[in-house]
Symmetry: C2
Subunit: 707 residues, 2 copies
Amino acid sequence: MADAAVRPETPASDSRTPAGGAPTAAHTAAEAAEARIDIDAVTNLLLGTWADTRREARELIKDTAFWQVNDLTVAEHRERTLTQLHLLADNGGGRRAFPAEYGGGDDNGANLAGFEELVLADPSLQIKSGVQWGLFASAIYQLGTKKHWDKWLRPVMSMELPGAFAMTETGHGSDVAAIGTTATYDPDTEEFVIHTPFRAAWKDYLGNAALHGKAATVFAQLITGGVNYGVHCFFVPIRDDEGAFLPGIGGEDDGPKGGLNGIDNGRLHFDHVRVPRENLLNRYGDVAPDGSYSSPIDSPGRRFFTMLGALVQGRVSLDGAVTTASALALYIAITYGNQRRQFDSGAGTDEVMLLDYGKHQRRLLPLVAQNYAQFFAHDELLRKFDGVFSGRADTPEEREDLETLAAALKPLSTWNALNTIQESREACGGQGFLAENRMTGLRHDLDVYVTFEGDNNVLLQLVGKRLLSDYAKQFKGKDAAALARFAAAQTAGKVFHGAGLRRLGQAVADFGSTARSVELGLRAEQQHEILSGRVEQMVADLAAALRPASKLDTAEAAALFNRHQAELIEAARAHGELLQWEAFSDGVKAVTDPGTRQVLTWLRDLFGLHLIEKNLAWYLINGRLSTQRAAAVSRYIDRLCARLRPHAQDLVDAYGFAPEHVRAPIASGAERVRQEEAREYYRARAAAGDEPISEKALQKGRTLQTK
Amino acid sequence: MADAAVRPETPASDSRTPAGGAPTAAHTAAEAAEARIDIDAVTNLLLGTWADTRREARELIKDTAFWQVNDLTVAEHRERTLTQLHLLADNGGGRRAFPAEYGGGDDNGANLAGFEELVLADPSLQIKSGVQWGLFASAIYQLGTKKHWDKWLRPVMSMELPGAFAMTETGHGSDVAAIGTTATYDPDTEEFVIHTPFRAAWKDYLGNAALHGKAATVFAQLITGGVNYGVHCFFVPIRDDEGAFLPGIGGEDDGPKGGLNGIDNGRLHFDHVRVPRENLLNRYGDVAPDGSYSSPIDSPGRRFFTMLGALVQGRVSLDGAVTTASALALYIAITYGNQRRQFDSGAGTDEVMLLDYGKHQRRLLPLVAQNYAQFFAHDELLRKFDGVFSGRADTPEEREDLETLAAALKPLSTWNALNTIQESREACGGQGFLAENRMTGLRHDLDVYVTFEGDNNVLLQLVGKRLLSDYAKQFKGKDAAALARFAAAQTAGKVFHGAGLRRLGQAVADFGSTARSVELGLRAEQQHEILSGRVEQMVADLAAALRPASKLDTAEAAALFNRHQAELIEAARAHGELLQWEAFSDGVKAVTDPGTRQVLTWLRDLFGLHLIEKNLAWYLINGRLSTQRAAAVSRYIDRLCARLRPHAQDLVDAYGFAPEHVRAPIASGAERVRQEEAREYYRARAAAGDEPISEKALQKGRTLQTK
């Protein structure tokens, strides 16, 4: 299925040409007389637990039919993405997560893994699939019961029934509990009346709503017998077979967006639309024909969060998709930086390869380290998700941990993706701005990932609150004097157990023997101590600062909390970064090949030091690093960058992308061909002796003559 | 010319509704019993020296014909922008900079000021104007002589002769001196032969090259008599009246880009194309009929930089355009944040206005402060530019200062623009991602500003080198022992004079009496000392680190330099930020109205503290701030944000944008109308007593009954 146009003119492995002029280091691991990674083995590591599914998905999207095309109108892009979705459905793309009895694969982890890879073809395809199977179908499956599955799962899987996930309203994005749409039960007809009471309660930003959706899973306040039982989800048909809105349904197109224009986002509103009682997706709450309400979960708050938690897979999959998209941008920028030359070094030799510049290494290599950390952390997240959703490890605690972990990792990886893609694009200069080189398109499409499926700042606040409540649990039953002693001794953090991949404070493996961290005090163990110490202290400090809240009235308590909002978010971010670091470290620990282990340990160190450098002021102010040790951090990063420079191409080759996934002309080898042609031209002219002499040389000659 | 659709549904000044629930501060300056800015006066301040021209340009672009339209194909957008350019030409848009005898306005400062405002209509229009009049026409005017002006200036000003500025090559972007295109003089026919020797020497990314350009100013190595006299510029016709390439000319379309798709960027190449000897733009270098070369500037290096310097206006104008574009994004985000409510405070009152959240203030208000600083710094830059180009203050020193200043400010403001627009878009959530709300489009279009007209990192290196050479001049004639004493005492920096708006070390005004900085040690004078001390020390440290270079061979010296590349860039950035701070301070100093002066002083303090916070680790490591003082920085920023929050709307209203410039529905008041409709709905239901009771209340009731 390969298109010859995207195949490199010379194989990428040929980029291992010897160093030209100064300032240059070894360009490749082969030149460096040191350890080298086993590229294939690292590819397997990065592809993770569901490597086979990922390979299968990558193979499928080698078909040009799945590729993003630049310069389509919104209408054309939407049409193309719809066609791709049908093609994907025909290839079984939407089935993996659903039960075998409906033709599904009963494999939640594999489902997300395969779905994430679609970002390489076109992020619009990834997200429209997500709307159809990850949100619309999942609402039916996770919030509904057998009667709903029997009716709708098959046509939804096959794309016969495209649908919208109607949760967000214009007036309420992140605050789902406050939505205005109502579903009032009418016992006379045994129907729910779905109604939009005012403009702010229009459903908004819904994929499949503007054009393609025939039904929607609509979230509304369930009212029966004069009581509001909170947000529930209803299956509501919205369009007839000709695509016209059904009676009582109205809507609007959201129009062109900053990216993801293959998806027909739109608005929906309901004017007393009646649906049968059975259309309530009733796994977590039901209404009997007489209008009486029942639920397996008594607490309205816990019920609400359980329903939302059942839809966590969106967040999980975004973390993986943006990690892969970032890897693509880094592959392009590093490959180009390893071929492109600009400015001579002043040493009279060749122009300098971009990746030999200190600044170029500094801007890109820490991002490669960060991206590797994300791959490892994401695989852990995906395994936890699979454990919960397969039922193998489905306890309330596991669910809560999963939700917290997803809420911690998704913000970091989506923000990192925007930064990484942008830095990669800038590192490629004008070439990076051409749409054909992919990076601007990825940047546009991924922009919204930082605010959808939970605004990043809102998610991090959830994580922060969980950290605070876990912290508070340690002190249950302890008296005020004991608490004061904790606070005074600044050791409170030591007993703190955070949520996530592992409990904080649990020892990680000792890397002392293999880590070649030459800077005393910045080896693996110390990195862990430094990073985890920060989380612990930030949470302890916050808890202390917020303690007076219990004695304040609600408004004053809210104001106190608000004054510490930015710190709460920062603590959650620190927690997420620690989890990424730990996942990377665990990943490296599992490597047996010495060369691979060595290089990945350097890369893990670069990630750890990069995190520490970002917050260096905090460590200094809080007495966690001496000024000497702090000053060593940046120098150590410089050294790690220089050490990793020869391995840069190996590290991005290990992403395992085929030319059909990359498709960026600047990463195809064309740049090296151009450079070599130019150099050959000058060599030939010099050899033939018909090169013009430079004015400078002429002036020097004159000066000599006059003397 | 106003389109009713963009006019707000309720006037923006109505946003001054009283505070709703907690946590809220005063929402408006009117509520706060404090100083308040005089909005009109601040608008005048921000519009600066050429306020009249800016107002005139803003009036012109109220015409819908100039507005960016979303969802055009590349071809349609290019056609629309071309039409706009003709319309602009018909309105005299391209004439301001040129001599009166050719129908111009002889006003360089006004020219750039007017040009910068076009970014509000469509950045493609701004940049295509820049290509035609700022680059193509300027090359003819600045590098050519009267014979060229007589022939081409009029048709170029009127758009009868659209042209490309053919400097950049695929193989050489930032390194213009190394371009491969040759212009070899043939004395037999008295012609230059323009030739592209290899693929990497194709001219690339040229606006007007893909479609509309009829001629190009082509930069090439001038070779005559077997000597290469370096890069010169030639006027080369490229297309006939039907738009077909002339013989020997070839080209390619650059295709869709990440933004600015109204401009037809493309590639050009030349196969032994002959142009008359007179087509050499010969102000700085000429070839006589017999082939002998002459130049008013002997040194080839100085000549090259003089020619490039004559084209500095591109960089100057980008600094202004992105500052205005950032202001637009901030206007939208602050206005929306002042109307949009989300999540209730827990205090049972209204939902909280976004701008009342601590994090929301923290993410947006420092950017407003930064943007104000840029307005003041840009006006100083523009005045310096006007001084040089009007001839009033045209000395080699002034030219060098101007170039250094432009190279320092353009990178900061263009990077800041991308961050500011992105933060603004994220602060508006899903609404921010809709194209109609402008921010994604601005982000796409401005992306390339950070790498064109001089890659930002390359420009900052130029600034860094200038700082180093100015520093070195202080020591001319001093012996090694004296230097060592300087270094040892760490006072070397004190005698350092940097380039820019003013000489470093020159005292700035004492703000002690008016600045209400309550934090001891962080008042205006200390901010200046802290910021300038950093620049001085960074430069002194770099100079010390690079001193051994003079004793090394070229390759080793280059390697040494390369190891410090990132620090050099950082020093230049610190220098640019200091200049912005100083410009802001000077701007505030000129204000007489006490309320305005008070609020702008807080804002200037916020900017200063924001800069210090960014580099807090550096100040701690280098012993410039104690940990106590460093810890106070963030707390002080929090307090300044809270203090400025009621003034936020005033500060963005002072940008002076009309609805026709904003055009974002979310900043039109529609959000407030929606919120009020929703609140009215709930109020009415509560009053009528037909509101469903909440399940929680029901459960509480039950519990009470059982008791």
